[in-house]
Amino acid sequence: MTGNPKGVETLLRVEGLVLDYPLPRQRLLAPAPRHRALDGVSLQVARGESLAVVGESGSGKSSLARAVLALEHPAAGRVELMGQDVFSLSPKALRSLRRHAQMVFQDPYGSLDPRRKVGWIVAEPLDALESGVDAAARRARIAEVLESVGLKARDAEKFPHEFSGGQRQRIAIARALITHPALIVADEPVSALDVSVQAQVLNLFMDLRERLGLGYLFISHDLAVVRHVADRVAVMRLGEIVEEGPVEQVFGEPRHPYTQKLLAAVPRIGHPRHRPETSTS
């Protein structure tokens, strides 16, 4: 089984997180300027809860996701996963904590090793954590998880380049699910998917939440998607959370002008068009 530590109700607690990136020097001897990507971010995700983070491009969403899994080193602030401070753990302890928190990345192509077969890619987190899984059980886990995201068991024998963009994102999701984590940090997990598969994957996320009590930190720029999967939503702008609350409240009565602008920008069928003239083809 999964062996989740029992009794931990808060899966993720982030407090006052600050993250700076160095930028190229403008002149050789000038100090390198820095860009503050996260500027005091605090949030929490409870077991079985799904928190969405929305915000414009460059607002720091991916940086937050990476920092939460200790893939970036912040200038200040704390991140607790399952009650443990991730920045004070030894590399080994961090690795074993990661079984409980898996990440689905924004760029499905960049996150899959092109030289490995899909079965290997999907099983990698499992192999890294549970050395004693026997070959038959391992094959069965791979088949099960591929089927749960709408792929076929025999796709395990193929390479990533043999799949379309959306199919590759499903591989990335299967890989995150294979260790039965308690928290999934998903960075734009469905933006590369077409609507029908997107609906399948979102429904899958919701099913897993009901069945296994999974919690999600769900990063998305698609407000319609957020509305379907999230309980609470945090709106990010320039590295800060400007508004947070239950989805119905934030979308129903947005208080911050930026949230209002975001909601107004959703493309809708029936709205005025950029290219209304008809064509001959």
């Binding site: 379309s164 379907h228 209304p276």
Partner: protein
């Protein structure tokens, strides 16, 4: 007069499990300055169509049919002739920005590269133009130094760099394969407006591939709905939306979270089209959508339905299309 014309383009990939037909007799025309949206489920062949026009299909691909662009059949051109067209007359924005970006070259170098290669500009002049292009796509100085590397940018910022590269040489055809899926809605609206502005202003034709019906609605004059490597429905965008005739097109609409936005706040379950796109290795005889279609009848199975015209400018490949208006 058309700029781009595909005639019965069929693409077969040789795979270890045997040949897979990923495009099956796809035809369409695109006139200079016109815009065409292509929608369809994952794996239906949208990117393959784009790659075929770019001459970038995988080595295992075999093509039949014709792709005429500016009066040349692209399928007969050699690699050198294609290189002269690519990035110059036809430019493409890829689905995943990192496939188009070189991780070890700066963004300034990459935006300038096409100008140096196709127009023979000197380094200084090309880089000065690159700064203007970066500014135009929303990456102004000094915040977005040309000395940044792709990994120092967010997903959306990378896609803006790719768009700057595509616009650099002022191509006649811009192919955008899911150009805004990595962008938030405000940037998406800005980028699409930018693409609409530059394409309309310079008579650049646009082939816009997306899975978002609302994006097609807002940004294209004509559209194709693809399913399993074939064209299911086509026509003027407003016409197709007014009467979605193919059951597949209606399924796509029902599954769009955006379309349900106001009706389904807490329902939490989206409609899906049951079943999956058939595997390109064993496509069924007859209508490829029959296995998932709510309107399937006996006559759908023996042979694939040909395309028929509903009204001028709106055609559907279905024997039992919806007759009435699209429910809203």
């Amino acid at each position: 007069m058309s700029l781009l014309s595909l005639q019965d383009l069929t693409v077969t990939l040789d795979t270890p499990e045997g040949p897979a037909t990923v495009l099956d007799r796809v035809s369409f025309d695109l006139a200079p300055g016109e815009s065409l949206g292509i929608v369809g489920e994952s794996g239906c062949g949208k990117s393959m169509t784009a790659l075929a026009v770019m001459g970038l299909l995988p080595a295992a691909a075999r093509c039949r049919g014709r792709i005429d662009f500016e009066d040349q059949d692209l399928l007969t051109l050699d690699e050198r002739a294609l290189c002269a067209l690519r990035g110059r007359r036809i430019a493409m924005v890829f689905q995943e920005p990192m496939t188009a970006l070189n991780p070890v070259k700066t963004i300034g170098f990459q935006v300038a590269e096409g100008l140096r290669w196709h127009f023979g500009l000197g380094r200084g002049e090309a880089e000065a133009r690159a700064l203007k292009l970066l500014d135009r796509v929303g990456l102004p100085q000094p915040r977005f130094s040309p000395d940044l590397y792709p990994h120092q940018l967010s997903g959306g910022q990378r896609q803006r760099v790719v768009i700057a590269m595509a616009l650099a040489c002022d191509p006649a055809l811009l192919i955008a394969d899911e150009p805004t899926t990595a962008l938030d809605v405000t940037s998406q609206a800005e980028i699409l407006a930018l693409i609409a502005e530059v394409t309309a202003g310079s008579k650049m034709a646009l082939m816009l591939i997306t899975h978002d019906l609302a994006v097609v609605w807002q940004n294209t004059a004509a559209m194709l709905v693809m399913y399993a490597g074939t064209v299911a429905e086509r026509g003027a965008t407003a016409e197709v939306f007014a009467r979605m005739a193919h059951p597949y097109t209606r399924g796509l609409l029902a599954a769009s979270p955006g379309a349900l936005e106001d009706i389904l706040p807490a329902g939490r379950r989206l409609a899906t089209i049951p079943g999956q796109v058939p595997d390109p290795h064993d496509r069924p005889q007859g209508c490829v959508f029959a296995g998932r279609c709510p309107r399937v009848a006996d006559d759908c199975l023996p042979c694939p339905p040909g395309e028929r015209l509903l009204v001028p400018g709106h055609a559907v490949a279905c024997l039992h299309p919806h007759e009435g208006e699209t429910p809203s």
